[in-house]
Symmetry: C2
Subunit: 317 residues, 2 copies
C-alpha cells in the first residue's frame, strides 16, 4: 500500500470541519497562518505536549487521545479566563496507520467544535513515539487575565468541582484503553471550564487549572503570590469520601483539570450564582489565604496532613 | 544523582538571557503567556517540529540542534515578511543528560538573540526520542504578508542565494555530527532572511522558504497561485557547478532555507538594491511566471529536466 503524501494526508484529515474563526485571514497551507487581533485585547498563549506511554496509554484510540490532548491544552486558556481563538498542532506520528490518523482527526474535530476552537495550522512528522504538541491561544480584555500571582491574605480559595476521578480510573484505563464511558470521561474528556473561567475575570484574583495534582498546583499560586493557602480537607469535593483508602490520591492525582482560584470574600454570592449558571454542582469554597512564608497547608479536622508526593512530576519516570 | 525537578530545570535553562519583548505582559511561569498586539498589525504564526534521527543526527550536540530547530522555524516568518515577536517551545527530552540540556539551552539563547526573538513559554516532557516543536510568531502590517497564492504571469522568479550546500554536507555531518565549521553552517545555522523578507513586503508578490527542495517548494507557489514557474537551471545559484555529479541534488535537496519569491519586472532594480543592502551576494533572477496548468518546468540550455524525486517528503522514511 502506498503511503499518502504528507500534503494529501494533511489536507484530508485536518483541512475542514473545524469551527470558523472571525479573525483568521489565512489558515492551513502557507508558511504561516495569519490572524487580525481585535482592538484592545490581549493574547493568551500556551503550548502543551502529550507523549504516548507517558501521558496516555500507547494503545488508546486516536479519537480519545485527540480529545484529551486538546482539552488539556485548552484548559490553560480557561485558567486565564481567555476566550479561545485557535490552535496549531505539531503531530509526530509513530507507526500509526491511516485508520488511526482518521480516528485522531475525527476526535480532534469533534473536540475543537465542542470547545469552539479553530485549527489554524500545523506540522506533521514521523518518529518513534506518537507525540502531540498543541499550541493554543485566546483573547482577554486588557489587564483582566487571571494570573497566579494575585492571591492575597483574607481571600477565599475555591475549586470548580470534584478532584480524583481521573486519577482513580487510570488503572481501569490501563487495562482497557478503549473504554469510553462515563467513568473514563474525566480522563479522556476532562471538562474545560471555559465559560466559567471567563465569568471569573471580574470576580477571581488568581487561578490555575489542576493538571499535576491539587496540592502541587496550589503551591504554584502560593509561591507566585507569596502567601499561604490553608485548605480544609473535608471541604474539598473528591470523587471518593475521606474514609476511602484512595482518598488521598484525589488530592495529589491531577488530570481532572478543575480550576483552583482565589477571590475576595465579598464575591462569594456572585461566584455561587455564576457556578449555578455554568452548571457546576460541586463548586466549593475549600480554604482561605493567609500571610506568611509561601506554603500549602491541608488540615483534616484540625490535623495537618503531609504528603510524600504532592503531585505528578513529569521527570519522575 | 537526583534529577532536578521540572520546575528547577526550566527555570535554570530557559528563564533568562533572551531578548526582551516590548509587547510581552507575562512570560514563562503562568498558565499562559500574555502579549498585547500593536494596533493595525496582523499576527503570522507557524509551528515546526524536528525529531532526532529524522531531522538531525541523534548524536548532534545540543547547541547545534537548538540553532537548527529555531532557525528552521523562524524561516517561516521570513517567508511571510514578518518581524519576529516571540516563540513557544515544546521540548520532549529522551535520555539526554543535564549537560545536553545546558548545551541545548545555550544554543537556543544564542540563536534567539541573533534572530531577535524572545522565548515566551513552553512545555518540557520526556519520551523515547528527542523532539523539538517550535511555535513562532511575528507581526505584519495589515494586508502585506507574502503569501504563496499571488504569483502572476509575467512576473520574475527570484532566489535569495545558493542552494545545495546543506544537502551536500549532510554525509559529512552524519560521519561527524559535532563538526561546527563553515562547511556545516548551512545545515546547522541556515541563514534566516528576516530583514530581506521584510524589505520584500512592498516588492514581492509571493514567497516561500525552501525547506524541502527548490523544485518541490516552487510547486507550492505554482499550485497555490495557479501558474507555471519556468526556471532556467543555469541561472540558479548552486553550491556546485552544473557539471558536478551532485549538481541535481542542489535543486531537490532542501535545508538551505533560501527564499524563493516572485515579483513584477518593474521591481528588478529595487530588489537588486535591497539584496545588496542585506548582503545577499548570490540573490538571482532564476525564471519567470507563465499562465497555464500549475507546474514547475526546469530547463537547462533549452532542455526540460525531469527529477525522480523533487524534494524531501517527510513520510518517505
Amino acid at each position: 500500500m502506498s503511503r499518502p503524501s504528507e500534503f494529501d494526508l494533511i489536507r484530508d484529515c485536518f483541512s475542514s470541519g473545524y469551527p470558523a474563526a472571525n479573525d483568521l485571514l489565512l489558515g492551513i497551507g502557507d508558511d504561516c497562518s495569519l490572524i487580525r487581533p481585535p482592538a484592545d485585547m490581549e493574547l493568551a498563549q500556551s503550548i502543551d505536549t502529550q507523549v504516548a506511554g507517558v501521558h496516555f496509554p500507547t494503545d488508546a484510540p486516536g479519537n480519545l487521545i485527540a480529545s484529551r490532548a486538546l482539552r488539556c491544552a485548552v484548559s490553560d486558556l480557561a485558567a486565564m479566563g481567555a476566550v479561545p481563538q485557535g490552535f496549531h498542532l505539531a503531530l509526530t506520528l509513530s507507526d500509526n496507520n491511516e485508520d488511526f490518523l482518521q480516528d485522531f482527526a475525527s476526535g480532534l474535530r469533534l473536540t475543537a467544535n465542542t470547545l469552539g476552537i479553530p485549527l489554524l495550522g500545523g506540522d506533521t512528522t514521523y518518529g518513534k513515539q506518537l507525540t502531540i504538541s498543541v499550541a493554543v491561544q485566546g483573547w482577554l480584555p486588557r489587564g483582566l487575565g487571571l494570573r497566579r500571582d494575585a492571591a492575597r491574605a483574607g481571600q477565599d480559595v475555591w475549586l470548580t468541582g470534584k478532584v480524583g476521578a481521573a486519577a482513580l480510573v487510570l488503572d481501569d484505563i490501563l487495562r482497557d484503553p478503549t473504554r469510553d464511558d462515563q467513568e473514563t470521561a474525566p480522563y479522556y474528556h476532562p471538562r474545560v471550564h471555559l465559560s466559567f473561567g471567563h465569568l471569573l475575570l471580574s470576580l477571581a484574583t488568581s487561578a490555575i487549572d489542576i493538571s499535576d495534582g491539587l496540592i502541587q498546583d496550589a503551591r504554584h499560586i502560593a509561591n507566585a503570590s507569596g502567601v499561604i493557602l490553608n485548605l480544609d480537607a473535608t471541604a474539598i469535593p473528591t470523587s471518593v469520601s475521606p474514609e476511602h483508602s484512595r482518598w488521598r490520591e484525589c488530592l495529589t492525582g491531577g488530570d481532572d483539570y478543575q480550576l483552583l482560584f482565589t477571590a475576595p470574600q465579598s464575591a462569594r454570592e456572585r461566584i455561587e450564582a455564576c457556578a449555578l449558571t455554568a452548571g457546576l454542582n460541586h463548586c466549593a469554597r475549600i480554604g482561605h489565604v493567609e500571610e506568611g512564608e509561601p506554603d500549602v497547608c491541608v488540615r483534616k479536622n484540625g490535623e495537618l496532613l503531609t504528603f510524600e508526593q504532592e503531585g505528578y512530576t513529569h521527570f519522575n519516570r
